[in-house]
Symmetry: D2
Subunit: 373 residues, 4 copies
């Protein structure tokens, strides 16, 4: 496996750089050991301004001085030619066209948008779960005519999906397939971007509906937890959507008055009988070591899953900043009277639920030799 040499700098670009996810990319990349922000793209309204002027900066840390004066460009590939990696925090309404054009221009795109998540040749990667899905990239390149040499698109999952597939992956690794899963999410307002949710809609309130969110969770979970298989035995890879053991996922998504950090209550039923005990589940979650840790991706958290023993944790305000939001926190592991086991998971929707996942995915793609650096 490739290793990034000490001191090497890899130039990266950020699309949608002025938005909520774009700003988080820039805040996180400030202290990255080898990624350096080189180009910033945003809408025509921002293009031509310095980043400090274009961004309505809403992070609690100041704008990194290295990007303050970078001129924001339109989201066109010619401005990003020198970037080995392009991170996309674009809105879904424009992401499809722009990211496609970047791929065609032989750029490596790591996207938070939903546009390509259902594409059968685009991997949907939660880095603490299924980085081996990156193996479809060569096949993705071949679909172009002529085949691409460097360009590709990798997506990461919806923020609420990300929080739940990490513990589910740990459970499947330890106990075999999960058969069904009922989830209720309590999602933070930052998940809707900026300006996003009007204050009058969410103050002193819960909104028990987020358009399209439940469908995303129910579908993405299958792609992420499923295999990358060769069904015909002819070398053509396909995502099997957890076909070996059908998995039914039922989600109820709500928005709550929390700035950052998605809380989810989860009940699961295992295929295996008898089901594991709560204590076995706790141990399996705490012991979960995803491959991105063993290959030393610099942005991987030390603890993929932190298991709380306190009865009232995790909580978004207290736990979302732990490990810079790169892992998830699980608590309240106990029997479910209807399925087998229930627990609570907390994930930082802007970090591991968005920007951090893209960054670790890029680190992993570099280690796998998929990115020319």
């Amino acid at each position: 496996m490739y290793t990034v040499p000490e001191g090497k700098i890899i130039k990266v670009g950020v699309l949608g750089a002025t938005g909520t996810v774009g700003q988080r990319f820039i805040a996180l990349l400030e202290s990255h050991p080898y990624f350096a922000v080189h180009a910033l793209g945003a809408s025509a309204r921002s293009a031509g301004k310095t980043y400090a002027l274009a961004a309505n900066w809403k992070q609690t840390t100041p704008i990194p001085s290295a990007v303050r004066d970078i001129e924001v460009k339109p989201c066109a590939p010619e401005h990003f030619k020198e970037c080995a990696v392009v991170f996309s925090g674009l809105d879904a309404d424009v992401a499809g066209d722009i990211e496609g054009a970047f791929r065609t221009a032989e750029l490596a795109v790591f996207s938070n948008a939903k546009s390509y998540r259902r594409d059968p040749n685009v991997p949907l990667v939660v880095p603490l779960v299924n980085p081996f899905h990156l193996n479809i990239i060569p096949q993705q390149r071949l679909l172009h005519s002529p085949p691409l040499k460097k360009g590709f698109i990798v997506t990461n999952a919806n923020c609420s999906t990300t929080g739940v597939v990490i513990p589910l992956a740990a459970l499947e690794r330890a106990f075999g397939p999960v058969e069904s899963c009922i989830i209720t999410t309590l999602q933070a307002i930052s998940g809707a971007g900026y300006p996003g949710v009007p204050a009058l809609d969410i103050f002193d309130n819960v909104v028990p509906y987020i358009s399209g969110e439940e469908e995303k969770m129910e579908w993405e979970t299958l792609k992420i937890l499923g295999e990358l298989a060769d069904p015909a035995g002819d070398g053509t890879l396909a995502f099997d959507m957890h076909a070996h053991t059908p998995l039914r996922v039922s989600a109820s998504c709500t928005r709550v008055p929390v700035v950052e950090g998605h809380t989810e209550t989860v009940s699961v039923r295992f295929a295996r009988r008898p089901a594991p005990s709560p204590q076995q589940v706790r141990e399996a979650l705490a012991a979960y070591t995803p491959v991105v840790q063993s290959v030393a991706c610099p942005s991987a958290p030390r603890h993929a899953i932190w298991v709380h023993e306190e009865p009232d944790r995790p909580q978004p305000r207290l736990d979302r900043a732990f490990q810079q939001g790169a892992g998830v926190s699980v608590g309240r592991v106990r029997q479910c009277q209807v399925l087998d086991i229930k627990f609570v998971v907390l994930s930082n929707n802007v970090n591991i639920g968005a920007a951090t996942s893209s960054i670790i995915n890029a680190e992993m793609a570099i280690l796998k030799g998929l990115v020319a650096v």
Copy 2:
């Protein structure tokens, strides 16, 4: 059935009158057609003061002028002798002894506390669901020696239980037994009383744990939805805990930054196959008419269950005040991919979840001739 004559006034007392639930009793009783607040009880600290001075009034309507100058008494039966009905908003740590003493003193107690809910001779009544459980009162009186003539205790349910058993009762009436039910609650801070939850614990936060709450929901639901049976055929009544069709309930309780109104996501599985469709469920919920409506309890809501067609309702801030919080709002009725049907229910935890339930229970007990007026 007895009817309260036009113009008749029935004197009532309120225990725990200065607390959150006690204040709501007083606010609701202000415009009651026949109940009139006659005596107020609180702790020694408040006793001897006028109510206006003793209560740290937190309602959004002013203190009713009729109670401003009532002298608050200690919670001893001798001060409530003239009250045909006594409502209790006492804290659980003192409710057991005080309410027991009031019953022994031949007073009719309608309590929000948990102390007697598990007593096999005390009915646990959600008035829109199981007022027929009041039929155990004669048996409750016989347990005393000598038997009581007028005294008894009726409890109402925990606020989060109340919200969910109302739609479950409607579903069971229409489609037969429910077999299992998975619930996540998003509970308001007013459910914890005053001072209750410290602001630092719940601002910009979710607390995924409320001590004892899940156990209450899982147990109370069975008592409320079960029958009042005569198992030995000897006239001895017993609550059967939904024995005819075992019902498994799994609850995950969370506290969210909302002042008033509990939101709950609910998934249910019916015994009957095939299960009803979402549209059939919607119609059954909207058509549900509890007996307290047909006998014209004055505090019963016009709509026991209001079914929303809008995709993003119910919401606590918009729906908690509807019908003075005496009914519940249901929305988002749809297929559950794991059980049969899922939906969202919103109930006002301080009204139908507490004070309003006690008041309707008392109205119902009067109509049944159980209270001497």
Copy 3:
């Protein structure tokens, strides 16, 4: 003075009917003794739909049944010909043209928009302060060619101005001119309309700036508290901007995470020496009886100014609903170490700060015979 006969119905229209202020007009008018909503105007996007479909109803009371099925019209005078009174909750960017056209079409317009507030022939009326400014209406009509017979525009003040001029008017009536006034506002998010303030901007936050707000407060206060004079002695009326005793107002406006109700801290210096004592000020505020009370405008509050003795009141959540938000609450009247007296005032920005003011102004204009009914 004219009196509206018992049982008479006066048809009114509402412009901007789907917005925050428009919805409040409709909620308040539901129980009005003589105004009946007859026509509703909104943008082209809403026109043609029933009100129930067009309005994204955000009030905590249901849509009045009488308006649910009214067809929303474009804001053109021909649809409002039968309305004796037209209330405007239009946004400032369109209010100028539309309200002008309505006036020209001989309609009586009562507006919340800022567009005409600085017009020297349009009265800026806080109904608990200066309804005598309505006397300029005949002069306003004469400016048209040919002179208008029925049309005119009356504006009410900015919500944060309204809260402070009511106690200032009471103080000037009792103690003579105020000379200077320093105000800090803590304004609710509903003051910015809908969608208004993004949740991410105001959660767990204070925004110490509201564009144009301080200038409005500093200017409007002078027009409202000033006289309607005849400087040249030729019958030409002009607003004197408190010219007799120059009044300096300094405002610092902030937005706080409160849904409804503007809190303001106010320090004042009187011209008169010695200044009145806090107790004298308290008494003068409590005793203030504006003319709209004595002529029995049905929407006037019973108490123009409610003076709190409790040390920690007024508070927006507890006091904004008092008297349906038609009066103001004052508390903490005490010495100011720099000016003379300081106090806190709370006003409901959507009621007396907007819709209620327009309604009382219309009631007053009718009583004065300025509206043909």
Copy 4:
């Protein structure tokens, strides 16, 4: 001036270690270059437990591993004998006796409590303003019999006072005495400690009163901004309370729904005529360099006052974490129509408003040779 040698470790103790301010001390000290937490004191309820068990840890960073297993002691001097510095986050009701006993036991106490702030021999030091007030320590020691050799008490100011005296000090240094000052505070809930403010009191609300707070601001400001003089010329030092130019301060204190960060609107009048312009004020604030910066106290912020040019800053959520909360942010510097200049200041009430001030005071006392290390 003494310099702490590279690598030297100075043992410190923390009193009230489990409370809000105590936790912040521990979080801040984790990365201190020479202070090392050696002993922790708390109430009898906590004593004997490890810190991890005793503290209900509410910080957003994990408990420092170096203190997790320290056994919490009662607040008695014998457990702190090895500590060169003792920080106190004790509640005012116990701080007087305990801190006095620690001083008598020859310990150097840096306290957040109000108990000794008005003591004429105890300095009240905001480290970015008046560290020269530490010069009274020798006189403080002489009051004991026999005179103390090492023990003393230094207090820091109330959190809302701290935010405002820093810009006032900068203005006085540049433009001479301030003559009067009107302040409104919008204070965060963390200022009240834990459990502190009940959520039901402050959600969707403003509480325009904090007991004793206005008096503290009005008095402390004079002591801090005044001189340490020798009025009789006999070597006896006394705080002159800004006697050379009487300063009148008028404060209105409110609590707002913000977790951390006090916002204050400030209007000032200078003695000097003409008053400086807003631009001159901006420049003077930005240029302000307190002595703790020039002597290189390690916890001093790089910018004592950060001056914002954006019209809508500072804001607590965006600015409270800047420089770890060790400086203050000022914005909206503009003319005041009544006094001379007005502006907005934001300070982190738990950092520079509490723990950080004590820490810098201790660093300064060490540099001045007042602490035996």
